[in-house]
Structure formats: structure tokens, C-alpha cells
């Protein structure tokens, strides 16, 4: 079975303007819309396209998070994943531990590919895929904007500072997605109905025997310093004069 494992994180929706709580112990989450991390949705879309082209047989979506992350996994099933796994926990798990947990499922499922978002838009760590690849002792192709597969090799175009880099990696491998890899499909109503019949296994984190204790401690959160609104100038001449006066041009 040629299998693709896709990791999904439940995160605050990207349209939400995130605010720090007055006590500085977190951000406001009450009544805030939660969604699948957009980069992970791109990862799932890519896996589905590979399967639809005949390049894989099964797409398995996995999430590590609270019970409510079942919603994100149901969405993944509605998009087209074949089955889903929730590793249930109410703790915030750091990337090294997420990588160890994913490795446990990689060993169980023997995927040809693991695809995940390059970062989650909550903690913006950009670590998990690389850490999984290291622990698995397999290749990593991060920040992918194009992915081509043959039987044993993936050719991946990566968005890097210099432009676009293409590398070739032997399978199995870990791929992390960048924004321009694809545009995820919309879910249609009949797909939501069908998704209800697809398997979604829920496992408690504790039952896996993986060390997940936090190593880092968030001491506090604060709002960033705000830039002050400046002045409006009336025309190009006034703008250029102002910049000249400040010695900027």
C-alpha cells in the first residue's frame, strides 16, 4: 500500500486578528474561530492530488490536539482523506514531541511520504517536518512549491531566499508545503455526509508512551509595539521633500 501521511494542526483561523490576553498568559481564544492550519490544508490537497493521479493508494490525516480537532479531521475526510487519526491531548505539545509522536505513526503506517505545512500560523515555529525527517533518518524537502513523484524519488521545487531550488529525494521522505504549492479544494455538502462514514480513530496521547513533556516555558506574551500612524502628504513633491529633509533619499 502506497500511503501518504498528512499532519494537520487545529489553529486560530488565519482571518482572526489575534489579541494578547490582558493577563499576558495567552491569546484570546473565547469565541474565536478555529480552522485547519492553512499550510496543512495545502499538504492535504497535495496528497489527494497525488492519490487522484494514481501516485498513491491511501491518504491518512493525523492531528495531535484537543477533542475538538475532530472537526478539522472530519473536514480532511470531507476533502478526500481516506481515514483519520486524532492523538488526543489538551496539552500544548512542542515540535520535538510532535515529531516523536508522528514518528510512532510513521513506523506503524510505513508511508512513502509525510506531508505537512512548513509552519503552523499560531506558534510559527517551522520545525516539525525537519525534526521528523531527522528522527526518521530520511530526506526533507521543505517549503515546497512543486512536487513530482516517480516510484522511488520525489523531485521537489522549494521556495528559497535565492529563488526556486529543485532537489531530488529518495522515498520515503518528508515534504513541507509553501503557499504556492496548490490551492486547496472547497468541501461540497455531499462530501461532508460521506465523511461521516469514514474511519476516525481517537487515541489518547498517554497511551502511546512517547515523551512529550514541554522543554520550553512561555513566560509571558505581550502585544507588539505599535507603529504610530504618520502624516498624509498631498502630492509627490511634498513626499519627496519630506524624504529629502529626513535624509532618506
Amino acid at each position: 500500500m502506497r500511503r501518504i501521511l498528512v499532519a494537520l494542526k487545529r489553529a486560530i483561523d488565519f482571518n482572526v486578528r489575534v489579541r494578547v490576553r490582558p493577563d499576558g498568559k495567552g491569546v484570546v481564544t473565547d469565541g474565536v474561530k478555529m480552522s485547519t492550519n492553512p499550510f496543512d490544508e495545502i499538504a492535504l490537497e497535495e496528497a489527494l492530488r497525488i492519490r487522484e493521479r494514481g501516485g498513491a493508494d491511501e491518504v491518512v490525516a493525523i492531528s495531535i490536539g484537543p477533542d475538538e480537532a475532530q472537526q478539522q479531521l472530519r473536514n480532511a475526510l470531507a476533502m478526500g482523506a481516506d481515514r483519520a487519526i486524532l492523538v488526543r491531548t489538551d496539552q500544548a505539545i512542542e515540535p520535538p514531541a510532535i515529531a516523536r509522536l508522528l514518528l510512532a505513526f510513521v513506523e506503524r503506517e510505513s508511508p512513502m511520504l509525510v506531508i505537512l505545512g512548513k509552519q503552523a500560523i499560531d506558534d510559527d515555529s517551522n520545525q516539525t517536518g525537519q525534526m521528523l525527517a531527522a528522527l526518521w533518518q530520511r530526506p526533507q524537502a521543505t517549503f515546497a512549491s512543486k512536487l513530482e513523484l516517480t516510484d522511488s524519488v520525489a523531485r521537489v521545487t522549494r521556495e528559497v531566499d535565492a529563488g526556486l531550488e529543485t532537489i531530488e529525494v529518495d522515498l520515503p521522505a518528508v515534504v513541507t508545503t509553501d503557499l504556492r504549492l496548490n490551492e486547496p479544494r472547497y468541501i461540497k455538502l455531499p462530501d461532508i455526509m460521506k465523511a461521516k462514514k469514514k474511519p476516525l480513530d481517537v487515541t489518547d496521547l498517554e497511551s502511546l508512551g512517547v515523551e512529550t513533556a514541554s522543554q520550553l516555558r512561555i513566560v509571558s506574551l505581550e502585544s507588539p509595539p505599535q507603529r504610530k500612524k504618520g502624516v498624509m502628504v498631498k502630492d509627490a513633491a511634498e513626499l519627496v521633500a519630506a524624504l529629502r529633509q529626513k535624509g532618506l533619499i
Binding site: 500560523i121 525534526m131 531527522a134 517549503f143 532537489i167 522543554q215 520550553l216 529626513k246 533619499i249
Partner: protein
């Protein structure tokens, strides 16, 4: 004593400008002794350049043809080996560092703090989360190795100084062959580099086409500025991906930033909030970019840019 090992990014025999900024970050760790690791095919010039950064105690120069072009899977085991005895292992938050450092951290069994923007102590750092909508203060465990990437826009480059000794340690690591470089494409130009330029002119969706984007290039040339673009402009194909400024593109801190036809999505603002002076030109007076701009000008960019050029 805190011993900091910094990974040097380099290309075509030149040290990346981010390295001297990482040195400034590392130097703000109390009682820090800084070493720079240069892993290259040859790398003699890069090692010499790294050795001249003020505050650097030594350069560890590892020569191996497999080290270029740089691949994280090849560099990581060598760095994990070199990191023995170092309390901190730092890289820059460039795509090179973002790709490489977590792989090193996993091999070391160390936690990583991404995008360090301020050092509070040897174990306490500040970093942006939620696209910069919050700043987290994070405490790492004492007495353990820590890996971090440095948000280079938060630091000034360390100046040049007296050359530090260059050592050539022997690295005992098995290098994988499962990852192979194929090619890299990107416009090489004589323009200043986007990430380190003093002036940047960026264009957004309002440019309307790849052809129209030439007006941004022309203005940038007049100002001796680097060119940037919003995500919308890159997605629409007006500009290549490497010019994207913002949360998932480049985070920059120029002296002067001109945002032209850019509405100012929060993800874009994250990438420019350290700019000294922001100028916004947009025909929509309500565009959020005006909330952060030092100078705002409402109007049609195709009329205003030629007028600006005439004034220069």
C-alpha cells in the same frame, strides 16, 4: 561561560550578510564565546571573511565537496558533531537556517527557539508568534543545549574586527546520499539584496500585471533600492517568489520602505514593522497600510510614480 556555535550561510564564496547580524544576537548572550562553523566545498574565503567579524573567537572550517550546494540533510550531522561542548547552536532565520536548524536540533535532542528577536538572558529569549501579533518570552531549560534561529531584521550587523583563528576540525559524521541538489533558478541582478538593502520599493496587486511591475523596477533603480512584492503580487505572477515580503516571505528592516499599491494585510505588515520609515502610496485612502505608514499618499500609482521620479 556560554559557548555559541553559529552556522555560516554562504553562496559562491561569499558569506551571507545575515551572519554578522547573528553574531550581534549571539554577542548579546551574557559571557558568550562565539564560534562560526563554515561548512563548504572549499570555503577558505568564507572562513576568512567570518573570522573578521568582530566578536568572533574562532572559525571552524570544514571542507568537503558534499557541502555545496548546501543540503540540510548533509550539513546537519556535521553540525551536530561540531556542536559538542557548545551551549547554544544558532543559525539565521533565512530559508537556509529554517531548513537546517530544526534538523540539527532533532539530532542533538535539543529544543529550538525560532526567530529570536531579543536576548533576555542565556536561557530567556523573545520571539514573535501569531504572525507578529504577539511577542512571546520563552525560557529554555538551564544547563542544556539550545538551538535557535535569529530573526535577522532585529539586529544590526557586527562590525569588522581583528581576524580570529581559523581551525580545521575533523568531523566524524556519516553523510546521507538520499538528498540531491538539482538546480536553482533566481534572478541574479546588480540590485541590492532585498534582505539587507537600505531602501526597498515594493509593489502590490494594484500594479495589475507583470509588465506594469516595471514601474516598480524603474523607481527602485532611481533610488538604488531593492525590489519587493506583496504576496498578492507574487501569487498573481507579477513578481517572482523570492521578492515576497511578509510573514511567509522575507522579514526586512530597511531605512526606507515604499509600499506601492499594497493594501497592507497583517501578514505583509509583519514583514516590514522594523523598517525605519514606511511610505505608502495607494488609491484607497482606507487601506490598512496607511495605519503604519510614516508618510501616506493617496492616488493613482501610475500617475504618482512618474511625478516622484521627476522630483528626484
Amino acid at each position: 561561560m556560554n559557548r555559541v556555535l553559529l552556522v555560516a550561510e554562504h553562496l559562491d564564496g561569499k558569506l551571507n550578510a545575515s551572519v554578522a547580524k547573528c553574531v550581534s544576537c549571539a554577542a548579546s548572550i551574557p559571557d558568550a564565546e562565539i564560534a562560526i562553523a563554515v561548512l563548504a566545498a572549499d570555503g577558505s574565503a568564507v572562513a576568512a571573511e567570518a573570522a573578521r567579524i568582530s566578536g568572533v573567537a574562532r572559525v571552524l572550517h570544514v571542507r568537503n565537496p558534499a557541502n555545496e550546494p548546501a543540503l540540510a540533510a548533509v550539513l546537519a550531522p556535521q553540525l551536530a558533531n561540531l556542536a559538542d561542548g557548545y551551549s547554544h547552536v544558532f543559525g539565521s532565520s533565512t530559508t537556509f537556517g529554517k531548513d537546517l536548524m530544526p534538523r540539527v536540533a532533532a539530532l542533538l535532542g535539543a529544543p529550538q527557539i525560532s526567530d529570536v528577536m531579543a536576548v533576555e538572558s542565556a536561557t530567556r529569549f523573545k520571539r514573535p508568534v501569531y504572525a507578529g501579533n504577539a511577542i512571546a518570552t520563552v525560557e529554555a531549560p538551564a544547563g542544556r543545549q539550545l538551538v535557535a534561529t535569529v530573526r535577522v531584521a532585529s539586529y544590526q550587523a557586527a562590525p569588522a574586527g581583528d581576524p580570529a583563528p581559523v581551525e580545521t576540525p575533523v568531523v566524524d559524521a556519516t553523510l546521507p546520499t538520499h538528498t540531491r541538489f538539482v538546480s536553482v533558478s533566481g534572478a541574479r541582478s546588480d540590485r541590492p539584496d532585498l534582505q539587507t538593502a537600505a531602501r526597498v520599493v515594493s509593489g502590490g496587486r494594484a500594479l495589475g500585471s507583470k509588465e506594469n511591475f516595471a514601474v516598480i523596477q524603474r523607481l527602485a533603480d532611481r533610488l538604488g533600492a531593492a525590489i519587493g512584492a506583496s504576496r498578492a503580487a507574487v501569487d498573481a505572477g507579477f513578481a517572482p517568489n523570492e521578492l515576497q515580503v511578509g510573514q511567509t516571505g522575507k522579514i526586512i528592516a530597511p531605512e526606507l520602505y515604499l509600499a506601492i499599491g499594497i493594501s497592507g494585510a497583517i501578514q505583509h505588515l509583519t514583514g516590514i514593522k522594523d523598517a525605519r520609515t514606511i511610505v505608502a502610496i495607494n488609491k484607497d485612502a482606507e487601506a490598512p497600510i496607511f495605519e503604519v505608514a510614516d508618510y501616506g499618499l493617496v492616488g493613482d500609482l501610475f500617475t504618482l510614480i512618474p511625478e516622484i521620479e521627476k522630483q528626484l
